[in-house]
Amino acid sequence: MSVTVPRGTLLVEAAKLVKVEVPVFCYHHKLDPVGACRLCLVEISPGPPKPTTACTTPAAEGMVVKTDTPLAVGARADILEYELVNHPLDCPVCDKGGECPLQDYTFRHGYPTSRIDAPRLHFKKPIPLSEKIALDRERCVLCYRCTRYYDEITWSQELTTDERGVHSYITSQFDQPLKSVFSGNIIDLCPVGALTSRVWRFESRPWDMDHVPSVCSRCAVGCNVTLWKRRHQLVRVTSHENDEIDEGWICDRGRFEYTHVNSPDRLKVPLVAGAEATWEAALTALLEGVQGRKLGIFLPQDITNEELFLLRRLVDGPWQDARVALERRTLLAPPQGETLPIKDLDGCKAIVVIACDTADDVPIVNLRVKKAVSKLGAKLLVVHPGHLDLDRWPDTFHVRPNPGETAEAVRRLIGHELLQEGPVGILYGDGHGAEDVDALTQAVVDLAEAVGGRVMPLYRATNERGALGVRLAGRQEDLEGCDAVILWGPGRPPASARFVAAWDSVPRPEHEGADVVLPSATFAETQGSYTNLEGRVQFLRPVLPVTPPLREGWDVLCELGQRLGMPDMDYLGIFHVQRQASRAVELFAPLADPPAPVPNPTPVLYGPARP
């Protein structure tokens, strides 16, 4: 087999193109190669008469690579035997068992039996690295993927190795718990069961779960995730690599904030005045309650595009004077003109981050900025009053204006020496309300014009961009003075409210004493789509069934519309809503073309981090 690849492509990547498996532990396509584990040995000619690591050798013109010579096969089997010298072989109780590269490679490349009967090195296990992650040092193969991830990708050096040689082990710096919001990715990265999730711990084996690719519901980045279910419970969330958005990373919010879906407190039946009722009765009570009152509607950040479209129709029609607020929204206006897509951060020569703590508001964009800076050599400028995660880069040019003066500081950047070379990416947030957003936006646009850059507004709420597209993104303060409110999601009723309807998946203290309570479906159950901060529409794929009497939001909104006497509210299904929304709202045009159903899952070769 022969293959032609771009200059600099490593042999492991070239081998993937011709579908030859070269086993790897330390190599990961998003990390720099180190050649630490020696598992990827192949023979090359012309070259020295000894096995060479495929993960550190770039392909060259005329190079012949042999993976199946006795020398290469034997060398890899020997390395695997070495890996198993101190391995506890407790696969039956290991959460990686079933999707473990060490198991798979030992089957495919290792010796069938073990020659080792000497005592093994033992460590205390498991050691909690944080609330969410457990470390089992006995299982570690010292590939350094986890420590390299912390060095290269998150810049936070929270994991390190101690001792030397066979006694080396992974430990957190100064034995402190991991604090980074990106810690969960090391679970996917670890090629063995040394780093495992404490949230998913012993919850299920990989083979008894079903999984679908979906979209994260926790912020406006819109990372792609894989949702895993067992026995009608959402038991795990892992990344689903999409190089245009997340590059295979997700933050800890996206990874671990799913347990409310399985909560035994989940609301399942509508309540009217605290007593269980039918949907019929509950919607009647709701419509009576809001009748003739000044209506305020609070929306959850993860409301879908379809629900927004239907709500827009309601607010255009019978609920004309309703005010609408969106959870966690920024004050930013919809962007004018073209914006910078997330994937184009890679091509930027300089990146300016303005008035936004990216690690908190848009975590994975933060990682993309770090990649562009540390791996691709972009310059980094930050305009923010505080101390940020991005300051870990020694060459960050950080301007600290007083809160409220960011706009002037941005204007002063025009003509800055670091911005001489383009393309320039300008990312801006709203300073969490401390800034005059209109002035700031104008300054950002001026800066972009002056340096020939493109802007990326950093919205916070998951579907804020969609809500802005249908003009339904007010603020919580806007609800003041409303005397009837519908609290969809975790909103607080204003003092003036005399009728409160709560619509949520779990009971919340702020919904205490609501007149009507409606159960709502979560991101794992509902059909629909989100628009992420760059305006990309991505479809959710429900992994759990909607068990009656639970109903999806769009379905309930349709019924409300029908009861209010609106025409054309009797949609045939969500696809019908999507078709109409795609024609009516420019931003929702991609809704006309929902993706095909999930293809059959392919066998997992490298653990869940790989697509």
Binding site: P92, F123, E203, R205
Partner: protein
């Protein structure tokens, strides 16, 4: 030829008497042979050592459950009749050695084909098929055997876990070698025992 035979058979009295005597001999012979019929249910026939009947979940001598909740039996089961839900042992609540135990362990005996694959798959010889086969019952629900029904009695406990059997008594067996005295491969404690780990951290 057919005519000749019929002539002979029809008219030879000696031959008839001889045939009668042969029949009587067989009858009388059987009368004095030892009886092989088993008077079920008063009596039960012995089963082979490898007979595969109702399952048991075994314990260690110290009373800890063997099962580590690994679900390998469930994965091996060709009909999918085993459900295992695992949980983590803590120092205060220790059910099995090591980190993991089965919080829920159920076998649907109506679906089970008694193939014994679960027993083969188990890395700690926790699930075994015993000699008992009388499992008739009146509702389908009662054929879902829970962990409490499957567990061996706890030798360390006063109260027997399986109703009707005294504490410390071996798991119920009928005539013939029972499952508790079958030779079993010895279990390699290094696999899951953490008691002898070198503390370092």
């Amino acid at each position: 030829m057919a005519e000749g035979q019929s002539d002979k058979g029809g008219h030879n009295v000696i031959q008839d008497v001889a045939a009668l005597a042969t029949g009587m001999r067989t009858t009388l012979g059987e009368f004095f042979r030892p009886v092989v019929t088993t008077q079920y249910p008063e009596e039960k026939s012995p089963r082979s050592e490898r007979y595969r009947g109702r399952h048991y979940l075994r314990r260690y001598e110290n009373g800890l459950e063997r099962c580590i909740g690994c679900e390998l039996c469930a994965a091996a089961c060709p009909v999918g009749c085993i459900l295992v839900i695992a949980a983590e042992n803590t120092e205060e609540h220790r059910v099995s050695p090591g980190e993991r135990y089965a919080k829920v362990y159920e076998i649907n005996m109506l679906r089970c084909i008694f193939c014994g694959y679960c027993e083969d798959a188990c890395p700690v010889q926790a699930i075994v098929l015993g000699p008992e086969y009388e499992m008739a019952d009146v509702t389908r629900e009662r054929f879902v055997f829970t962990k409490e029904m499957l567990l061996e009695p706890n030798p360390a406990e006063e109260r027997p876990l399986i109703a009707g059997f005294a504490a410390g008594e071996p798991a119920p067996t009928v005539e013939g070698p029972g499952m508790t005295d079958q030779p079993r491969p010895t279990f390699d404690h290094r696999l899951i025992d953490t008691a002898d780990t070198v503390e370092r951290s």
